[in-house]
């Protein structure tokens, strides 16, 4: 029988032999990211010369700014073999993705920093600050947080009186409920997530009948989904959606709603602008 643990021990041993000695006093110079969300953080915190590789997801990201940054650094698919060949002095990963690779690296004594997912701006502050410390880039991390705070302050000060009722509906059968980053960004942008009611934590089952009954002001639709053919793109062609929501549709950059980052404040600003534009055009139509 195939012995997984024996294999892990073998690979770990190889990695242990190959692991470079890391001086705690020195900032890491060869950083490797195994997660799309941490890719975005390290690409903003470090110069390309200090990044060994980021994930293939960032290289092909629909977010042009991210893929442009990622284009100047190496690529990885989150495997332990790549760690061996790229010889990083720090690996940054999420706390749920690539579990086998993380287990092997931990066993081999590699310097591994796991960044938990951030679902609100408080958690974004924490992970950014912590990663800044680990990378020796505290000042750069604080600058990012300061910019985020300034955007959030501006958003609070200019908060519209009337909240816009929104659902992130894409025909996939589930919509974000309470406790997800979408909810946080939407509420800062001046909207109310109609699916975020008591008992609706995380992803919520939601069909067209419920959409009709809830009568949201707007439907928010993930823009990345629109770029490649899928069943969800067909969902927008449903005659109910065309009849009631053709002029009540806003798109959002879903990668900024999946990963909690300082840039999520900018996403909230963009969302508010998009909501305001659609609501104004509706007033003109009426």
């Amino acid at each position: 029988m195939f012995d997984v643990w024996r294999m892990i021990s073998l690979v770990s041993g190889l990695l242990l032999m190959a692991a470079p000695s890391i001086s705690q006093a020195q900032s890491p110079q060869r950083v490797m990211s195994l997660n799309m969300c941490t890719d975005q953080l390290i690409l903003n915190l470090l110069p390309a010369s200090r990044i060994t590789s980021v994930t293939f997801l960032s290289h092909s990201s629909p977010n042009a700014a991210l893929s442009a940054l990622a284009a100047h650094v190496g690529i990885n698919y989150g495997t332990a073999e790549e760690v061996l060949s790229q010889r990083p002095d720090l690996i940054v990963s999420g706390d749920t993705s690539t579990p086998t690779t993380r287990a092997i690296l931990g066993h081999a004594g590699y310097e591994l920093h796991e960044v938990p997912s951030a679902d609100n701006f408080e958690e974004i502050r924490e992970i950014t600050r912590k990663l800044g410390q680990v990378l020796g880039e505290e000042i750069r991390a604080e600058e990012m947080i300061v910019r985020m705070e300034a955007t959030l302050k501006e958003l609070v000060e200019t908060m519209p009186q009337k909240k816009i009722r929104v659902v992130a509906w894409d025909g996939g059968g589930f919509v974000p409920g309470r406790g997800l980053l979408f909810n946080e960004i939407l509420s800062v942008a001046g909207g109310i997530n109609i699916a975020a009611v008591d008992g609706n934590d995380y992803l919520v089952d939601f069909d067209l009948e419920e959409l009709l009954q809830a009568r949201p002001d707007l439907i928010a639709y993930a823009s990345a989904t629109l770029k490649a053919p899928a069943l969800r793109t067909q969902a927008l062609q449903h005659r109910i959606v065309r009849r009631f929501y053709e002029h009540r549709l806003i798109t959002y950059a879903d990668n900024l709603y999946v990963c909690g980052l300082p840039q999520s404040a900018e996403a909230a600003k963009d969302l508010r602008a998009a909501m305001a534009m659609v609501m104004e055009s509706l007033e003109v139509l009426q």
């Binding site: 589930f174 009709l212 009954q213």
Partner: protein, 329 residues
């Protein structure tokens, strides 16, 4: 000779009752009185929109797709003289799914809506042809094995298509879609699938008399003037068109084609031509009933229709296997 007319009347009555119940089932409760008004108004009230634009096309699709699966099962069983022949077990549904997946994820469906049923039919046709070619002359076991092999190939090619699909959500979406569902469908889906199902159904019904002759044996059928190659081609085309288009709209729905003919056969004279229409009605009743059940059984997210029909149909399949073992020489 036993007339199947009373059974047809009974099935139609049952179908009518289920059709109305189907209009009552959903996430939003609508009183029966409002269901009636919504049926004919097509108006602007919430209840009217839900009834006319969501529940009515869903019920029509359940009837149309259930009928095409039931009818296909009856004809396939008649042609192969094999009680286990049905679109799902013979790999027809897997072939149709593959065609639909290619249409959806490589942008053809976005270019023209009929691409999905069209490629679904092409996939179903190819799968049926391979199954028939592989299983021909080998009895029940060879046909079922050929069906399993074609289903396996279809599944592998679907996985490959998803592997190469440009959309990161493809795998999740299609796993969901393969479980079969009629949720959130519209009149557009009805208009898309109905012409194909009608054409496929007409072809399948036209095979009735030849199938009656074939039930006496291939040599006897040929002596009665039946062109067996022509008959096989008709069944191949009819099944592919009916099941391919149905699968492209509803995903994979198994076992309706197996169960429906067996349920009604004891009440007929066992002549294949007298089984086709009742099997279509029984298929419609079964699928409509199953679709209602998925909406009223609350165990979290809506139960997928294909999952439910498989859960109900598999014990029937087991029972048939046990029965075959007892009667096998």
């Amino acid at each position: 000779m036993r007339s199947s007319f009373p059974m047809i009347v009974l099935l139609l009555a049952l179908l009518s009752i289920l059709f109305f119940l189907s209009l009552l089932a959903g996430r939003v409760w609508i009183p029966p009185s409002e269901v009636f008004s919504g049926l004919f108004s097509g108006g602007t009230e919430l209840s009217e929109i839900i009834i006319f634009e969501l529940r009515l096309p869903r019920a029509v699709l359940a009837v149309v797709i259930g009928a095409s699966l039931g009818m296909s099962g009856a004809v396939l069983q008649g042609l192969t003289r094999n009680p286990l022949a049905e679109p799902f077990l013979l790999g027809v549904s897997a072939g149709a799914s593959l065609g639909a997946v290619i249409a959806i994820y490589f942008g053809l469906a976005a270019m023209f809506a009929a691409a999905t049923p069209f490629l679904g039919i092409v996939g179903a046709f190819s799968a049926t042809a391979i199954t028939f070619a592989l299983g021909r002359g080998g009895g029940t076991l060879a046909l079922i094995l050929a069906g399993a092999a074609v289903s396996g190939l279809g599944g592998a090619l679907i996985a490959l298509s998803l592997n190469l699909a440009p959309n990161a959500n493809a795998a999740y979406e299609i796993m969901n879609w393969l479980m079969g569902s009629l949720s959130d469908r519209s009149w557009d889906h009805v208009f898309l699938v109905l012409p194909f199902v009608l054409i496929g159904g007409a072809i399948l019904i036209s095979t009735g008399r030849a199938l009656d002759a074939l039930s006496l044996g291939e040599t006897q059928a040929q002596s009665l003037g039946v062109d067996l190659l022509h008959l096989r081609l008709l069944v191949l085309f009819g099944t592919a068109i009916a099941v391919g288009s149905a699968t492209s709209v509803a995903g994979v729905i198994g076992f309706i084609g197996l169960v429906a003919p067996h349920l009604i056969r004891p009440w007929t004279d066992y002549q294949p031509s007298h089984v086709i229409i009742p099997a279509a009605l029984a298929g419609a009743v079964l699928l409509l009933g199953a679709d209602i059940a998925t909406r009223i059984i609350h165990i979290g997210p809506e139960l997928k229709l294909g999952v439910f029909t498989s859960l109900i149909g598999t014990p029937f399949f087991f029972w048939h296997v046990v029965k075959l073992r007892k009667t096998a020489p």
